[in-house]
């Protein structure tokens, strides 16, 4: 044993720092402590991607519904309608003129548009069909009043004035019931969207719990060795968390990316169809069928949240497993 040199530790203790030894160019250093590339990892990334995609689409759809409802509310809330009913022995044209002048005199009313008899009859066409002679029917007449943006009109006073001037003939509809229903519907859509997103994130969390437990069982020897070489539970949990965060990031990015592309394509197709009659109907129902930058930001945020949920759940699961 005369050829035995001093062990490394004596050399490491010498005073001047040794020049850094040359390392092979292909030497891998600080590779992940938990093996990452496995069929289970790829499957989990795919599950996270699909769940993120579904959550992002739900969020996008809810955003479209809420913003469309907002547009409808905005346009409807800017108008009120005066209805004049025909009454025996009264001149309906004179009543309409009287109601219009009363409305125009009310502060906060920016404009009034009288629907002619022909226009009023045309409003009934969707229900009664076209080509009918409606002259014998007592069709009410409408006056659409546009509200000023800078001041609120005193609608109760206008309603009282109309009832006083034209008793039993005139009524004022400020669309409050319609607006309330619209608001309820928009809130319901938003609630359903949030609920589905939460459910999907919960499902993602559960998938990660099972995947983490599987990974822990599959890497039992790695965990044992890490313990023996002095790693504490937190360090091991971090190693698993880092692995699952990368998987979550990959899945989240894929899912959110696919959702972004889908929304962008849907917006593009909607713009292309808008010129046709079907496009007009779709636009009437769904507004512009486009999500704004908030929608895109929300989709990206869902991708990020899915990754963070993956990381947090895996860390929590590992800590529980090791306890």
């Amino acid at each position: 044993m005369s050829d035995v040199r001093s062990p490394a530790r004596t050399a490491a203790a010498k005073a001047p720092p040794a020049p850094e030894p040359s390392l092979p160019a292909n030497l891998r250093r600080n590779a992940p402590l938990v093996p990452t590339d496995s069929a289970a990892s790829r499957a989990l990334a795919a599950v996270i991607a699909i769940l993120t995609f579904l959550a992002a689409l739900c969020a996008g759809a809810a955003e479209i519904a809420v913003s469309s409802a907002g547009q409808w509310q905005g346009s409807v809330a800017q108008e009120v309608t005066v209805q004049i009913r025909p009454s025996a022995g009264r001149d309906i044209e004179a009543d309409v003129k009287r109601a219009e002048s009363l409305a125009k005199d009310t502060p906060g009313i920016a404009g009034a548009r009288i629907f002619s008899k022909a226009e009023s009859e045309r409003l009934l066409e969707p229900w009664l069909g076209s080509g009918l002679d409606l002259s014998d029917l007592p069709v009410p007449r409408l006056i659409a009043l546009t509200l000023a943006r800078d001041r609120n009109p005193d609608l109760p006073a206008l309603r009282a004035a109309l009832v006083e001037a034209l008793p039993g003939v005139a009524s004022l509809d400020d669309h409050a019931l319609w607006l309330q229903r619209l608001s309820t519907m928009a809130n319901t859509f938003a609630g359903i969207g949030i609920g589905i997103v939460l459910l999907v994130l919960f499902a993602t969390g559960l998938a990660v719990v099972f995947a983490t437990r599987g990974a822990m069982a599959g890497n039992r020897e790695v965990v044992e060795v890490l313990h023996f070489v002095g790693a504490d539970d937190d360090y091991i949990a971090k190693a698993f968390q880092s692995r699952f965060f990368r998987l979550g990031l990959r899945g989240g990015a894929l899912g959110a990316g696919a959702a972004l592309v889908t929304c962008a394509m849907a917006g593009l197709l909607a713009r292309m169809w808008r010129s046709g009659p079907a496009g007009e109907e779709i636009e009437a129902l769904f507004g512009t069928f486009q999500i704004g930058w908030q929608g895109y930001a929300m989709i990206v945020l869902i991708g990020v949240i899915a990754s963070l949920v993956t990381a947090a759940v895996s860390r929590f699961t590992v800590r529980r497993f090791l306890r």
């Binding site: 490394a8 530790r9 250093r29």
Partner: protein, 237 residues
């Protein structure tokens, strides 16, 4: 090397034993007792062999010292600390003061030899640049300088053995436990590795080598802890 080489037993009366077993019994589940009434101490800076026939309980005794299993009865103290009910943090602290060479090496197959050897320093969250030179030098010393980028499945049995030993030594442990560390190497390398353990012992590390290689034990005049039928007998200085 001639027999009768003195090891560095530098126990002073004031120093606490590194390991103390008092009437320790151990059984797995409802099976028979693997260890019965085992009592001994491992002094600081001491060098000893743990020997006995296969199945005598050497590995179980090492696992008890490593705190990977708990005794069925009796008291185990490591570095002056009684280990029943020890917290996880304290357990980690004690393990960082030990180095261990497993009989089956326990190298992580997805990490290179270099990464495996650096593992005890890496889990202490030290910057890689701070230990790189040390790891490379130790790898070269154990003859793995050209194999540091190789994954363990591609190493021979002897190379794995040396990588496992290097991993146990790299953090300069106060206590080194080696389970059949020379079982897969040729006699010349076995002597060289033994010399390495002795050098380490001279620098202050307590060393316990579990082996049933009497040829190896005869090279060194050291205490022998002999396990037979679950009972421990201590021979030698």
């Amino acid at each position: 090397m001639s027999a009768g080489m003195k090891t560095g037993s530098l126990l002073s009366g004031a120093e606490e034993p590194v390991v103390r077993f008092e009437s320790v019994g151990m059984r797995y589940g409802l099976g028979p007792e693997v260890l019965s009434d085992v009592s001994f101490e491992i002094a600081p800076h001491s060098f000893q062999f743990l020997t006995g026939p296969s199945g005598a309980g050497k590995t179980t005794l090492l696992r008890l010292i490593l705190l990977s299993v708990r005794p069925t009865r009796g008291l185990v103290s490591v570095f002056g600390r009684e280990v029943s009910g020890i917290s996880n943090d304290a357990l980690t602290g004690l393990r960082r003061r030990m180095g261990v060479v497993f009989q089956d090496f326990r190298l992580l197959d997805h990490l290179t030899t270099y990464e495996n050897v650096a593992l005890p320093l890496r889990v202490q969250e030290r910057a890689e640049v701070s230990y790189r030179a040390e790891v490379v030098e130790l790898l070269r010393w154990v003859g793995l300088g050209e194999r540091m980028h190789v994954l363990p499945p591609l190493l021979s049995g002897g190379e794995k053995q040396r990588a496992a030993i290097a991993r146990a030594l790299i953090a300069r442990p106060e206590l080194l436990l080696a389970d059949e560390p020379t079982g897969n190497v040729d006699p010349s390398l076995a002597r060289r590795l033994l010399r390495l353990f002795m050098e380490l012992n001279r620098l202050g590390t307590s060393v316990v080598i579990a082996t049933h290689d009497y040829g190896l034990m005869d090279l060194v005049e050291a205490r022998r802890m002999v396990l037979a039928e679950g009972r421990l007998r201590v021979e030698g200085p």
